[in-house]
């Protein structure tokens, strides 16, 4: 294992410290417990958005703290959800009295830790609502399982709900917007390589030179099945088709197309995937109204990508377009 780190146990602390130094005009970093808040938070009268999860998915979540998106991000250890004793003070630090929305990726650990934190924050008099993101179509959704994972779509939920909060929506309204995004976004991913968790020291899984994993998540876990390497166009179809089917996207609808890198794949390859995805959508008569291409929800240095599609309507498009100013996503200001 070769990584630009000093000590596997200090990776998160040092990385978040460096992040805070590089973006001091946008965020404040709290240590012990560690969490990141938007400069100047709480914003008077505004509903606050808090998200978090295991580290290793950067820029998610801390990279999305700032105007028009998150008010706080709570990083756990690598691939390990944060604990209530981080989430509670982060929640308290950004609450203006208008309430706090927890945006939680649907993993047992994240759900349980945020649930505990929400209960305790509520006991302290803070209104908290929780939205679970579960966009991964690779995972069967069933009452009897842990349900679908939250993956790439999370960044779209955070952006759009953040815009709703910034325009002054109430907690229930912001939660409603976030739930609307969750209902309308689906994702599926592929890995060309595993990744190495610093404290583990060995790759999460190994792939032969001609193998890829279809249906991966973002924690270096193996996917649903392993197939022989294929062309970018063929892989794009394998990812996009189930996404579109699950969303039941019809000709004439408008979508946001998001090609997300897992961390170790060159941007140039993401555009090759984007190209084919846009072609497939055009063939189906679907209009790509907005696009996002880049490394936003990663899995350390894993090679691969995910494709997310969000069904748009005028309101979602307007909220997507609203100004945002965070370390990793910025426009309109």
């Amino acid at each position: 294992m070769k990584k630009l780190i000093n000590d596997p146990r200090s990776v998160v602390d040092e990385s978040v410290e460096g992040f805070g130094m590089a973006h001091a005009e946008l965020v404040d970093v709290h240590t012990d417990p560690i969490f990141v808040v938007r400069k100047g938070a709480p914003v008077a009268g505004k509903v606050a958005l808090v998200s978090g999860g295991g580290s290793g998915h950067e820029p998610l979540h801390a990279g999305f703290v700032g105007h028009g998106m998150l008010d706080a991000a709570v990083p756990g250890a690598v691939f390990t959800s944060p604990t209530p004793d981080q989430i509670i003070p982060a929640t308290a630090a950004v609450d203006s009295g208008a309430g706090v929305l927890h945006i939680v990726k649907n993993y047992t650990g994240d759900v349980l830790n945020f649930e505990t934190a929400a209960e305790m924050a509520q006991a302290e008099g803070i209104s908290v609502r929780t939205v679970l993101v579960n966009d991964d179509v690779a995972v069967e959704d069933s009452l009897y399982t842990a349900g679908r994972r939250g993956v790439g779509g999370t960044v779209l939920v955070e952006k759009i709900a953040g815009a709703a909060a910034e325009r002054g929506d109430s907690l229930d309204a912001v939660a409603g917007v976030a739930e609307g995004v969750v209902r309308n976004v689906r994702t599926m991913g592929v890995a060309l390589s595993g990744c190495t968790v610093p404290h583990a020291g060995v790759p999460s899984f190994e792939l032969a030179d001609d193998e890829i994993e279809i249906g991966i998540g973002i924690h270096g876990e193996p996917g649903r099945h392993r197939i022989a390497m294929e062309s970018a166009d063929a892989i794009t179809g394998r990812l996009l088709d189930p996404v579109l089917d699950d969303l039941a996207i019809r000709a004439g609808e408008e979508v946001l197309l998001f090609v997300n890198g897992m961390g170790g794949t060159p941007l140039s390859e993401l555009y090759i995937v984007y190209r084919r995805a846009a072609q497939i959508l055009a063939e189906r008569g679907v209009k790509v109204e907005r696009s996002l291409v880049g490394n936003y929800v990663t899995s350390l240095e894993m090679q691969g990508c995910s494709i997310s599609v969000l069904r748009l309507d005028d309101e979602l498009t307007a909220l997507w377009d609203a100004p945002v100013h965070t370390p990793a996503l910025r426009w309109g200001m």
């Binding site: 295991g54 690598v78 047992t108 830790n113 009897y144 924690h219 270096g220 876990e221």
Partner: protein, 216 residues
């Protein structure tokens, strides 16, 4: 025979030692069907338990388990943190403020712990989770209690049953937790949380004086 705070402190101390010794093994189990962090999380959590024990030595078994619950909840993270946190907290509540606990109290605490895990995680027996270690442990403890066994015998039975329970997860297809994402591919691997649970219950028996490995 009744167990006091010394036993509880010894249990946690041995737990910390076992989590450190088995750190890599638990990481490897989690790597196969999860995200490679279970051993790291448990080791970090029990280091925190040891620090807290040194800072504020508890006066009753219940206080010791409550301290552990808080440390685990705030330092483990992931799924295991809240689940073990709840388990130890419910066990502590069941033990109350007694300075010494007997077999019945102990069996009751184990039941409370298991019920806490189920209440939080909503997993059933056979879902390939730590419940598959805790449920047989609770049943074995209850049987020994009914048969008139003492506290040590209750813990020994629980430890053995948990170990067997952990092994029974090997062929199962996971329905809860991160391993469930793998579907059929999760079969053929031991659940890391069930494995750590067996180690923790083994530590409880050893702390009570039951000779290590005596069951085999």
């Amino acid at each position: 025979m009744r167990l006091g705070v010394d036993w509880a402190v010894q249990w946690l101390t041995l737990s910390a030692r076992l989590m450190s010794e088995h750190r890599e093994e638990l990481i490897a189990l989690d790597r196969a069907i999860g995200d490679s962090d279970h051993g790291e999380n448990m080791d970090r959590g029990f280091q925190a338990v040891m620090e807290k024990l040194a800072q504020t030595p508890p006066e009753t078994p219940g206080a010791a388990l409550k301290l552990a619950a808080m440390a685990l909840m705030s330092k483990v993270g992931g799924a295991a943190g809240p689940l073990y946190g709840t388990a130890y907290l419910r066990a502590a509540t069941a033990l109350g403020e007694s300075a010494e606990i007997d077999a019945a109290a102990l069996a009751g605490a184990l039941t409370a712990a298991r019920d806490g895990i189920v209440a939080r995680g909503k997993a059933a027996l056979g879902d390939k989770t730590m419940v598959d270690a805790w449920s047989p442990a609770v049943e074995a403890a209850d049987e020994v209690l009914v048969a008139g066994g003492d506290a040590v015998a209750v813990l020994a039975a629980a430890a053995e049953a948990a170990e067997v329970g952990a092994v029974t997860t090997d062929p199962l297809v996971a329905r809860k937790g991160r391993a469930s994402y793998l579907g059929e591919r999760s079969a053929g691997h031991r659940d890391p949380g069930a494995a750590s649970s067996a180690l923790l219950l083994r530590a409880a028996a050893t702390a009570a004086g039951f000779p290590e490995g005596a069951a085999e």
